[in-house]
């Protein structure tokens, strides 16, 4: 395999949430799981739905809709849990649908226009336009960091 020395490209996992498309750096994605039974954990922020058993490892799951403060939706056949890992934390993100893995050109990433939202902006690293799709690149560390909210 030829090594791309000038790695201007980034592989991302694309998922949809509330009719928008988001992208996460594939490096942080461990796996994508179907929605499954979870156990509620008391006294945690409301967006932490609970914990699941992922092949013997207990992993907390975050509902990204609640996290982004958009209306909640019923979980269905398409609902996916994207297991991400950052630093030494492993967390599952509940999304409406996981669509794609694709390459994006780093040069095409634009910063988020200031006008859109205020709170949510923190989670966003930038936006990428590919043909007629608009991908919102997420800052995983912000999503996982619940103490600083």
């Amino acid at each position: 395999m030829p090594v791309q020395t000038e790695a201007k490209e980034q592989k991302v996992v694309v998922f949809s949430l509330n009719q928008k498309e988001y992208a996460l750096d594939v490096q942080h994605v461990v796996s994508i799981e179907k929605m499954q039974h979870f156990t509620r954990v008391p006294h945690v922020p409301n967006y932490i739905k609970g914990v699941i058993n992922l092949r013997g490892v207990i992993i907390p799951i975050i509902d990204l809709r609640t996290r982004f403060q958009v209306e909640a939706a019923e979980y269905n056949q398409n609902t996916r849990i994207i297991i991400v890992s950052m630093a030494d934390k492993e967390v599952g993100l509940i999304v409406d649908e996981a669509n794609d893995v694709m390459n994006i050109d780093l040069d095409t990433i634009e910063s988020q226009p200031d006008v859109i939202g205020t709170e949510r902006q923190n989670y966003i690293a930038g936006v990428v336009k590919i043909q007629d799709r608009l991908l919102i690149l997420l800052k995983l560390e912000k999503i996982l960091n619940f103490q600083e909210d």
Partner: protein, 680 residues
């Protein structure tokens, strides 16, 4: 030859043998006449020598060779077992240990062992000044008082006695064959040939069969009755080529009788049998003894497995359990008789498998503790203190990962106790304490934790001294000094940059030690605290979480959610009528066996969505923290189960009243309640 594949085995086995040497040597110190123990040590040393020579680690082989010689001397009564001798052997073992470690780390296992070798050689040549030893050797030289090498049974003694009465002399002939000799068995045969011409051979160690099969090193001992003189025997045997050395020692029957304590009655009967039959008989006996010895060593064999593999096995197994649950369900839905039976059978097998997998990760703390007696011994000798280390609860099991981490902090604390805690013998006597100090190392399970206590009956911590030092070092201020409680002051010794020892010694106290200990323990999710009373002693209490260990829990249901309550916190379960609840300042309480016990609703505490209406009865689990009780209200009891405690991960830390989670048989997660957090 490609050795790398054997290297791992070599390292593991070497460690096993070194450890067994350590243990047996320590036992020997208290029971120096126990021949069995000496033999055990000798065997370990011998195996080590063989292994290291095969693997080409020459330093190790040389050292073990010297060690073996000395041990052999001890075994044969040539040298008296003394603390000095033990020190030297321990020194050699320390070298061996570091060489093995170096090999394990990919090194060549080379080390300067000349000091140990020289000392061992000095023992061998009798130069180590040892009062009892020198007098004994002198006695042998001058008065020809016999010192026996071998053990004789009653029958052999009788035979020797009769030979003696008939004017024969009894000698023990030790023959050393040159190490480079190729056909040892042939030389043995020739030696036996020579000896049989002179007299009758009563006994040989190792046995004749073993000698013929070359199952011996370079030395063997033969007992012979003859008319010839010592010199003649020596000369005649030396004529056989490739013999390095022959020593002939006369034997006194009266001494043998004293030594002999193993009477075998059935052999007593045949008194008038010729020496040849005796030999035959003895061969059988000695070979029988050898097989039993082998059995003992075999039973301790273990396989070491990488912990990651165990983790993988555990996770795979849990997957299996989940699928088993699904199969079970499918079988029920299909109502297929044969399928159901198969699934049921599989359930039983997986249950057994589960307990095996779970216990595999647990290691008794003995794995860490067993190196301490030797350490404390050598430290106390170095410092000129008298210390007895008492170990309690070494069978307490801890998860392997914790075991691996806890060793160094414990070493540090023990060194601290030996160095700073226990006083010098004179000082102890002055204080009216027994001369010998005691350090107690104790491990036990309690609740969700394992506790390790290190208690010494030494000087204790001087509050003033610690406080002043802390002020000096800027850890606390002058005002704080008077406000802090004793306990708070004592715990200051765990902060960094602290050392109260007047003298800085090699053993502990550069002020970097105890805070490292604290950090390590905290990184394991544990805590450490100090309790002390001046002139009475100091206790370090380490609390370690049972991460990834197995605990017994009671599974309960709160509405539709399942929770696990550690059995260690539970006193019992009780069912009350609602009308039996009283209120004391808004706090619902019940009368439980004459005690007023507050009750807590888990549904409220955990904000469990309410779906089931209660009835007139409430089910409670009575829990305890110290001497305080509380009743947890639940909706139903499911039953007792052994579970694997898992953490909620690094993302969810410090969830109120939840100490962890576990995966149930159906693959779902149940949270484990931390009873300590519920009782204030």
């Amino acid at each position: 030859m490609e050795m790398s594949q054997y290297l791992e085995v070599f390292i593991e086995e070497s460690r096993e043998h070194i450890q067994s040497c350590n243990e047996n040597l320590l036992k020997l110190e208290n029971d120096p006449d126990n021949l069995e123990l000496i033999n055990e040590v000798f065997r370990s040393a011998h195996t080590l020598k063989g292994m290291s020579a095969t693997m080409g680690f020459e330093d190790m082989a040389n050292l073990t060779h010297q060690m073996e010689n000395v041990l052999d001397g001890v075994r044969n009564g040539k040298y008296k077992f003394s603390s000095e001798l033990l020190d030297i052997i321990f020194m050699a073992i320390d070298h061996l240990e570091s060489m093995v470690n170096s090999i394990a780390a990919g090194g060549e296992g080379k080390e300067d062992v000349s000091d140990a070798i020289n000392k061992l050689k000095m023992i061998e040549s009798g130069k180590i000044v040892n009062q009892s030893d020198t007098t004994q050797t002198a006695e042998i030289d001058q008065a020809n008082i016999s010192k026996t090498n071998l053990n004789y049974d009653q029958f052999e003694i009788t035979v020797l006695e009769q030979a003696n009465e008939q004017g024969y002399k009894v000698y023990e002939v030790s023959i050393f064959i040159r190490p480079d000799c190729l056909l040892k068995a042939a030389r043995v045969y020739m030696v036996f040939d020579v000896l049989e011409k002179i007299g009758d051979i009563i006994k040989s160690v190792p046995s004749v069969e073993q000698l013929e099969e070359e199952q011996f090193d370079n030395e063997f001992v033969v007992t012979i009755v003859t008319h010839d003189s010592m010199e003649d025997i020596e000369k005649k045997v030396m004529k056989v080529s490739e013999i390095e050395k022959v020593t002939v020692v006369p034997l006194k029957i009266s001494d043998l009788k004293k030594m002999n304590n193993e009477d075998s009655p059935d052999e007593n009967i045949e008194k008038n049998v010729s020496p040849h039959v005796v030999e035959q008989k003895k061969k059988e006996a000695s070979s029988a003894r050898d097989t039993t010895d082998k059995k003992i060593t075999l039973s301790n064999k273990t396989i070491r497995v990488n912990i990651e593999r165990l983790d993988a096995l555990m996770n795979l197994f849990e997957e299996l359990v989940i699928d088993r649950g699904r199969l079970d369900q499918i079988a029920k839905e299909l109502n297929h008789q044969e399928l159901s039976e198969t699934v049921e059978k599989m359930s039983r097998v997986t249950n057994d498998l589960q307990s095996v997998v779970l216990t595999m990760r647990m290691v008794p703390v003995e794995a860490v503790f067993n190196r301490f007696p030797k350490m404390v011994r050598s430290l106390s000798r170095e410092l000129g203190k008298k210390i007895h280390l008492q170990i309690i609860g070494q069978e307490t099991e801890l998860d392997r990962t914790v075991i691996d981490e806890i060793g160094d902090p414990l070493v540090h604390l023990l060194r601290n106790s030996v160095d700073h805690g226990i006083e010098m013998p004179e000082e102890r006597l002055r204080k009216g304490k027994p001369e010998e100090g005691t350090i107690q190392l104790k491990a036990y399970h309690s609740g969700n934790h394992v506790f390790i206590e290190i208690t010494d009956d030494g000087a204790g911590i001087n509050r003033e001294k610690v406080a002043r030092k802390a002020v000096e070092k800027g850890i606390i201020t002058e005002e704080q000094m008077n406000q802090l409680t004793d306990k708070e002051i004592f715990n200051l010794i765990l902060t960094s940059g602290f050392s109260t020892a007047d003298k800085i010694s090699d053993i502990s106290g550069r002020g970097v030690g105890l805070d490292v200990v604290k950090n390590t323990i905290e990184s394991l999710g544990g805590t450490i605290s100090v309790h002390s009373e001046e002139n009475v002693g100091t206790t370090f209490l380490i609390q370690l979480p049972l991460t990834l260990s197995i605990i017994s829990v009671m599974l309960v249901e709160v509405q539709k959610e399942k929770y696990a309550i550690p059995l260690t916190s539970i006193i019992e379960t009780a069912i009350f009528k609602k009308s039996e609840i009283y209120y004391a300042h808004e706090q619902p309480v019940i009368d439980f066996r004459g005690k007023v016990v507050p009750i807590l609703s888990l549904q409220e505490i955990f904000q469990v969505p309410k779906v089931i209406e209660g009835n007139d009865y409430i089910s409670t689990v009575i829990i305890r923290k110290g001497d305080k009780l509380a009743g947890l209200v639940v909706d139903s009891f499911i039953g007792q189960e052994e579970i694997v405690l898992k953490s909620l991960g690094n993302y969810l830390t410090n969830v109120f009243a939840i100490s962890g989670a576990t995966i149930l048989g159906d693959g779902q997660v149940a949270l484990i309640i931390d009873c300590n957090a519920l009782i204030k």
